[in-house]
Amino acid sequence: MRIVVAKPGLDGHDRGAKVIARALRDGGHEVIYTGLRRTPQEIVRIVTDEDAAAVGLSTLSGAHNVLIPKVCDGLREAGLNDVVVFAGGIIPEHDRSALQEQGVRAIFGPGSTTKNILEFLDMISSRKESSDPVGVGEEIGWYWSE
């Protein structure tokens, strides 16, 4: 799968994103890493240009409630309804359901293993094959749980 790993906003810490990027590569995926401090518009542009199937958003700054919905909206506006959005970093439990309603299909936090993320992506592939909704612009409801 072609996957964009992105760092939205002003948060300057990307050790976690890099670990994820490497783990996804080792899982056989083609990972495009964006680097730090990307705007939601830039991330949508990168997903478009790279013809990526999924985008992982890493945020540690607390701005996830603003930035992640903006990326989701931007993807839908660009017609990229089939792109899978997942998130990671520091996202408190009480913020998660709102993000799920925005079309985020998985949220990984401290304690998640790279194996979990690869299992999530395997699940995405099999759901895609059977035409079950997984994209950001597709029917909300299914959400990954470990």
Binding site: V31, Y33, R38, E50
Partner: protein
């Protein structure tokens, strides 16, 4: 929306998503919607860490300031073990993601020697046919397989840096012979001038009178970039280098034929069990492949 012709029509009108889809289909081996070989590209190669992506980021700025458009195909190797790839070139070209006049696409080699090559030419053709004025192929020039990639460009720029001891390395790999221009990056660092002199003297030692220009730039400080763009617009290849590139492309095509042959596995088995010699196997594959 998966038909290459209709995607091409949309891509020509500026639909980036259609362009991205179309390039994916070409990568998967679909037939090109445009005539083969109409494209024109500049290859940028050099050892890891000399600043190729940063330099291309600056070239993009310069082209944009001149009102020109640019598409970059940034090529990185796939892991031979897992088939995965980490494509991080575009993080050094951040300025590229806000302008409609730039398109950057990351490509993994996917471990098909020759396989990527089969799609590289159609990708360049399509980008040119869609009106992108400059098409750049970026690849790490670290070994023979990367040389094969960059040999698909119409003109080649080799980027090197000071204090790398790489002049000899580059010569060993054979990239120097293919380069139409050599750029020494990081001219803000000490010894850059010396590296440039070393490259020049290495070039003048050969018998070829049509030696490539050696330019000093600093992508970090943006010095020499405008001059580099000017030189690139006038850059021409020589007949000798064109012949060398064709040679590399032919070897790629040959490798591709060998590796995709249905007779490959049985030939390996025949050699393993002593029923064929290497030469017999080569002849067997050559004579019986369609």
């Amino acid at each position: 929306m998966n038909d290459t012709n209709s995607l091409f029509e949309s891509a020509k009108l500026g639909d980036r998503r259609a362009l991205a889809r179309l390039l994916s289909l070409l990568e998967e081996g679909h037939a090109s919607p445009v005539e083969t070989g109409i494209g024109d590209s500049i290859g940028v190669t050099g050892p890891p860490g000399v600043g190729k992506s940063t330099l291309i980021g600056k070239l993009i700025d310069e082209w944009l300031s001149r009102g020109e458009t640019v598409a970059v195909l940034a090529i990185d190797p796939s892991s031979p073990q897992t088939g995965g790839a980490l494509l991080g070139d575009r993080m050094r070209m951040m300025n590229a993601d806000s302008s409609d006049s730039v398109y950057v696409r990351s490509l993994a080699t996917r471990n098909h020697p020759g396989g990527l090559m089969d799609c590289l030419t159609p990708m360049v053709d399509v980008l040119c046919a869609c009106g992108w004025q400059h098409v750049v192929l970026e690849t790490v020039g670290a070994g023979q397989s990367e040389i094969r990639v960059v040999a698909f460009a119409d003109r080649i720029i080799l980027v090197d840096g000071p204090d790398r001891g790489d002049v000899v390395q580059a010569e060993k790999a054979g990239i120097m012979e293919l380069a139409d221009m050599i750029v020494i990056n990081k001219s803000d660092l000490p010894n850059a001038q010396r590296a440039a002199e070393a490259v020049k003297s290495a070039l003048s030692a050969g018998s070829d009178t049509n030696t490539p220009d050696v330019l000093l730039v600093s992508a970090h400080n943006s010095t020499g970039i405008s001059e580099l763009v000017d030189s690139m617009s006038k850059l021409e290849s020589s007949q000798d280098r064109e012949r060398l590139r064709i040679r590399e492309r032919l070897i790629s095509a040959w490798d591709s034929m060998l590796l995709t042959s249905e007779l490959l596995d049985e030939s390996i088995h025949a050699i393993e069990t002593g029923r064929m010699t290497l030469r017999q196997a080569v002849e067997h594959i050559r004579d019986n492949s369609d």
